[in-house]
C-alpha cells in the first residue's frame, strides 16, 4: 500500500551500556559509561549529568562524579546484535541493518500475520526485551527518514507511530537538530537565520536556504523538512553492498593518515568485490569525528567499478568534502568506505585515450585507458596475494603505516557490511 506508514526504525537504547547491565545487573540504575579513552556509550542516568558518546572519559567523570566506567567487550555486542537482528527477521524478511544497533524494517507484507505496523512495532519491542533483555525504541512512519526521527523522539524505551497524513504536523514542531545532517554548526547557522523548528525550515524557500547552507545542503534539508525521502528499505543481500571501516583509538587529524587508511580500506573493499566478480557505482564514505558526530557522503561514479584506485579516489574526495563542510578541524575516530548498487562485473565499454582539461578524473571512469591499466594492476596484486599471502605486495603509500600507528580496530563489530 503506497503511502502507508509501514517503515520501522528500530534502535537499541544505549546499546553497549545496556549489554553491560545485562552482564552485571548491579549496574542498573547507576550512571555508567562504556569506553576506554572516550565514552562509547552511556546509560541514561549518566546522560542526565551531561555525559555524551565521544566525550573524553576525564570530561565525563568531571561532569558526573559517581560515574562507573566499564571497558567494552565487543565480541558480546556483536552476539547480541545478531540475536536482535534475528528477532527482526521473524517479523519481516525486509530488514536493513544500518549499524550494530539499529535497523530499518519494512512491514507492509507482515500486517496479515502480526497486525498493523504500530502493533508490529509493539511486538518487536516486546520480543527483543523478553528474549535479550535489551530496551529498544521504535519509530513507525511512511519514510525511512521520518521513522528514524520518530525513534529518536521515542527514546528511551519508547514507541512512536506517525500515521500517514499526520507526518508534517508531527515533524514541523520538532527542533531542527533532529534532522539528519544537522550538527551543531548547521544548527547555529540556521538559528542565525531564525530557523529553530523543522516547520521554520520547511517555510523557507530552498533558494533562500541555499544562501545559508549552500545548494546541496539546502536541497537536502528542505526535502527532509517536507518528509521527502524516497529510499526504500533494502535487505543486506539485495542492497548488494561491500564495505569496510576502521576505528581509531585516538583522534586522527593528519590528512596523510586519513589517506593511508582510505587506501587500505579501498584495497580491502576492492579485492572483496573482485573476488566476488562484482562492481558497484555508488561509493559511500562514513566519517566519525572525535565527538562521535557521524556523517556519510555519497557519490555515483560514471560506471560500476571494483578498482582500488577508483574507490580510493572517490573515498578521498568524499572525505575531503565532508571535512571541509563539517570538519571544523576535528580529528577523526572512524573512516569507512562502502560500495553499493552492485552488479556483475560488466562487459566494459572502453574509452578513447582522450587527454586534456575538463575531462574529469579518468581513474574514476572504468573504461578509460588509465582505469584499465590500474585494473590490470589490481588483478596482479590480487593474484600475488592469493599465492604468497596478504603481505606479499604492499602499496608504497602504505609502507610504514602499519597497524601500530594506524587503525586500532579494523572491521568494527557491524554484523553486516557498512
Amino acid at each position: 500500500m503506497a503511502g502507508a506508514a509501514t517503515i520501522l526504525h528500530a534502535d537499541l537504547d544505549a546499546f553497549y551500556a545496556s549489554v553491560e547491565i545485562l552482564r552485571e545487573p548491579s549496574l542498573r540504575g547507576r550512571p555508567m559509561a562504556v569506553g576506554g579513552g572516550v565514552v562509547l556509550s552511556a546509560t541514561y542516568e549518566a546522560r542526565r549529568h551531561g555525559v555524551r558518546s565521544g566525550m573524553r572519559l576525564a570530561d565525563a567523570r568531571a561532569r558526573c562524579p559517581g560515574l562507573v566506567v566499564v571497558r567494552g567487550s565487543f565480541g558480546d555486542y556483536v552476539g547480541y546484535s545478531r540475536r536482535v537482528m534475528a528477532v527482526f527477521r521473524r517479523f519481516t524478511p525486509l530488514v536493513e541493518p544500518i549499524s550494530i544497533d539499529e535497523a530499518f524494517l519494512e512491514v507492509h507484507g507482515a500486517a496479515r500475520l502480526f497486525g498493523p505496523p504500530p502493533e508490529i512495532a509493539r511486538k518487536v519491542r516486546e520480543a527483543v526485551r523478553t528474549e535479550t533483555g535489551l530496551p529498544l525504541s521504535v519509530g513507525v512512519a511512511t519514510t525511512k527518514f521520518l521513522a528514524k526521527v520518530a525513534s529518536r523522539v521515542a527514546k528511551p524505551d519508547g514507541l512512536i507511530a506517525v500515521a500517514a497524513g499526520t507526518e508534517l504536523g508531527f515533524l514541523h514542531r520538532l527542533d531542527v537538530d533532529l534532522l539528519w545532517g544537522v550538527g551543531p554548526v548547521t544548527r547555529e547557522r540556521l538559528a542565525g537565520a531564525g530557523i529553530r523548528t523543522v516547520g521554520d525550515l520547511a517555510a523557507v524557500p530552498p533558494a533562500v536556504l541555499a544562501g545559508v547552507l549552500g545548494h546541496h545542503g539546502a536541497a537536502h534539508l528542505h526535502a527532509l523538512a517536507w518528509n521527502r525521502d524516497p529510499r526504500p528499505v533494502v535487505t543486506g543481500r539485495r542492497a548488494g553492498s561491500v564495505g569496510a571501516q576502521s576505528t581509531f583509538g585516538r583522534d586522527v587529524g593528519d590528512p596523510a593518515a586519513h589517506r593511508a587508511v582510505l587506501l587500505r580500506l579501498a584495497e580491502r573493499v576492492g579485492s572483496r568485490l573482485r573476488a566476488k566478480g562484482r562492481a558497484g557505482r555508488t561509493v559511500t564514505v562514513r566519517v566519525r569525528f572525535a565527538d562521535f558526530e557521524t556523517v556519510t557522503r555519497q557519490t555515483a561514479l560514471p560506471g560500476p567499478t571494483s578498482s582500488t584506485s577508483a574507490l580510493y579516489r572517490a573515498g578521498r574526495d568524499l572525505t575531503g568534502a565532508a571535512l571541509a563542510e563539517v570538519g571544523r578541524g576535528r580529528g577523526l575516530r572512524l573512516l569507512g568506505i562502502s560500495v553499493s548498487h552492485l552488479t556483475r562485473l560488466p562487459d566494459l565499454q572502453m574509452e578513447l585515450p582522450l587527454t586534456g582539461a575538463g575531462l574529469a578524473d579518468p581513474v574514476l571512469r572504468p573504461g578509460s585507458p588509465e582505469a584499465l591499466a590500474r585494473s590490470r594492476l589490481d588483478v596482479a596484486v590480487d593474484r600475488a596475494r592469493e599465492a604468497f599471502g596478504r603481505d606479499a605486495v604492499s602499496r608504497a603509500a602504505l609502507l610504514g603505516t602499519g597497524r601500530r600507528d594506524g587503525p586500532t580496530r579494523d572491521h568494527i563489530p557491524a554484523p553486516e557490511d557498512l
Binding site: 562487459d347 565499454q349 572502453m350 578513447l352 586534456g356 582539461a357 575538463g358 575531462l359 573504461g367
Partner: protein, 347 residues
C-alpha cells in the same frame, strides 16, 4: 515562428523571464527572440503593423495557442498588461512578462561570415552530432568542434566512446570553435534554409538565414587532440552492405538493450553477429561480407554501432579493425570525407 524562437528556451531556466519570448514590432517587421542565455534564436516576420511596440509573452503557451488557432491571419495585441492573440474566432489572453527584465542581448555578429549550402551543412552536422556527449559533467565533449583543414571545413565530435569526423569540401573560410551540440540540433528546425551564413567569433557562433538567426555561446576550453586517435593503418578490413548490417544490428538490439554488446565474429565470407543476454536469451545471424584479415571476435555497444551505420554515406560500408581491444573505424566505401571511430566493449 513563435515556436522556432521557443526552441531556444530551456525547460529548467532559473529566471522566469527566460520562459518568455520577446516580441518587438517596428516598421514592417515583427521580431521574436527566445534565449536561455547560452543559445539565442531570433526570427523576423514581415507583418501588417497597426502599432509599434515591445512585449514579452509566455513562450510555450503562446506558441501552442497560435498553433491551435484555425488557419488564417493571427492578430497580436498588447494592452493593460495582457497580450491578446486572436484569429478566426478564438481569443487567447496571456499576462505579459515585464519586458524590462528580458536580458539585453547583443545583435548577432556576422563578421567574417561564410555562405554555405544549408542542406549540405545540415547533413554534415547530423553525421557528427550523434557522437557528441550529452553529459554536462564533461562540457568539452558536448560540442561540435569546427576547424579548417586543407581547404575543407572540418567538424568533429566525440563522447569518448566514439569519434566522428566530417570534412565539408571547398570551404576556404577560417571557421574555428567549439559549438554546443544542443544549439546545433536546433538549427534545422529553426533557421535552417537552403542558404546559410555561418560566423564563428571569439565567443559565439552565429547561423543566419532568411528565417532568422541562431547564436550560441562557444564552449570554453581546448578540444582534445583527436588526430592521434585515428590509426594510420589497419590489418583487418571487412566490407559489407550497410542496410544488411543495420538490419542485423537492429534485430540484435531487440535482445541487447543498451548495456549488452553485439559480438561480431569476423571470418572469411562474412560476419557472425550475435548477442547473448543472460537470463533472457540471444540472437545470432550471418551477414555476408568480404573479409580480409585474421579471424577475430570484437564486440560493440549496439547503439553506438547503429548510430555510426545510420550516418555513414553510401550503400556499402568498410569497417577497419586492428584487434578486439582497439578502435574500429567505419567509412562509406569510396568516401573519404567522413569517418566514425568507435571503441569496442571488452568481453
Amino acid at each position: 515562428m513563435l515556436s522556432r524562437a521557443t526552441r531556444a528556451i530551456g525547460t529548467r531556466s532559473p529566471l522566469p523571464i527566460l520562459q518568455g519570448v520577446l516580441i518587438e514590432v517596428t516598421g514592417k517587421t515583427m521580431r521574436v527572440t527566445g534565449t536561455d542565455l547560452e543559445v539565442t534564436i531570433r526570427t523576423d516576420l514581415e507583418v501588417e503593423v497597426l502599432e509599434e511596440g515591445t512585449t514579452v509573452i509566455p513562450a510555450r503557451l503562446a506558441s501552442e495557442a497560435v498553433r491551435k488557432l484555425p488557419p488564417g491571419a493571427v492578430v497580436l495585441q498588447a494592452a493593460d498588461g495582457e497580450v491578446e492573440i486572436t484569429g478566426g474566432g478564438p481569443q487567447f489572453r496571456f499576462r505579459e512578462l515585464p519586458a524590462d527584465d528580458f536580458p539585453k542581448i547583443a545583435e548577432p555578429d556576422l563578421t567574417g561570415a561564410v555562405e554555405v549550402d544549408g542542406n549540405a551543412f545540415a547533413s554534415a552536422l547530423s553525421q557528427v552530432a550523434v557522437a557528441a556527449s550529452n553529459d554536462d559533467a564533461r562540457p568539452i565533449l558536448t560540442g561540435v568542434f569546427f576547424e579548417s583543414e586543407g581547404g575543407s571545413l572540418r567538424m568533429v565530435a566525440t563522447d569518448s566512446y566514439r569519434l566522428a569526423v566530417r570534412d565539408l569540401p571547398s570551404m576556404e573560410a577560417e571557421l574555428s570553435g567549439l559549438v554546443p551540440v544542443r544549439a546545433l540540433r536546433e538549427l534545422k528546425r529553426t533557421v535552417g534554409a537552403s542558404t546559410l551564413r555561418v560566423a564563428i567569433g571569439a565567443r559565439e557562433a552565429t547561423f543566419a538565414s532568411d528565417r532568422g538567426t541562431l547564436t550560441a555561446r562557444l564552449i570554453e576550453g581546448t578540444f582534445p587532440n583527436y588526430r592521434q586517435l585515428i590509426p594510420e593503418s589497419y590489418p583487418n578490413r571487412v566490407t559489407l552492405d550497410r542496410d544488411a548490417l543495420l538490419d542485423a544490428v537492429d534485430r540484435a538490439s531487440l535482445v541487447a538493450e543498451d548495456h549488452i554488446p553485439v559480438r561480431l565474429m569476423l571470418q572469411e565470407g562474412g560476419v557472425e553477429l550475435s548477442v547473448i543476454r543472460q537470463d533472457v536469451g540471444g540472437e545470432t545471424e550471418h551477414v555476408p561480407a568480404d573479409y580480409a584479415g585474421q579471424e577475430m571476435t570484437i564486440a560493440f555497444n549496439s547503439r553506438y554501432l547503429n548510430d555510426g551505420l545510420s550516418v555513414v554515406d553510401g550503400d556499402e560500408v568498410v569497417l577497419d579493425l586492428m584487434d578486439p581491444l582497439k578502435p574500429g573505424v567505419l567509412r562509406g566505401t569510396g568516401s573519404d570525407d567522413f569517418l566514425y571511430l568507435l571503441m569496442p566493449v571488452r568481453l
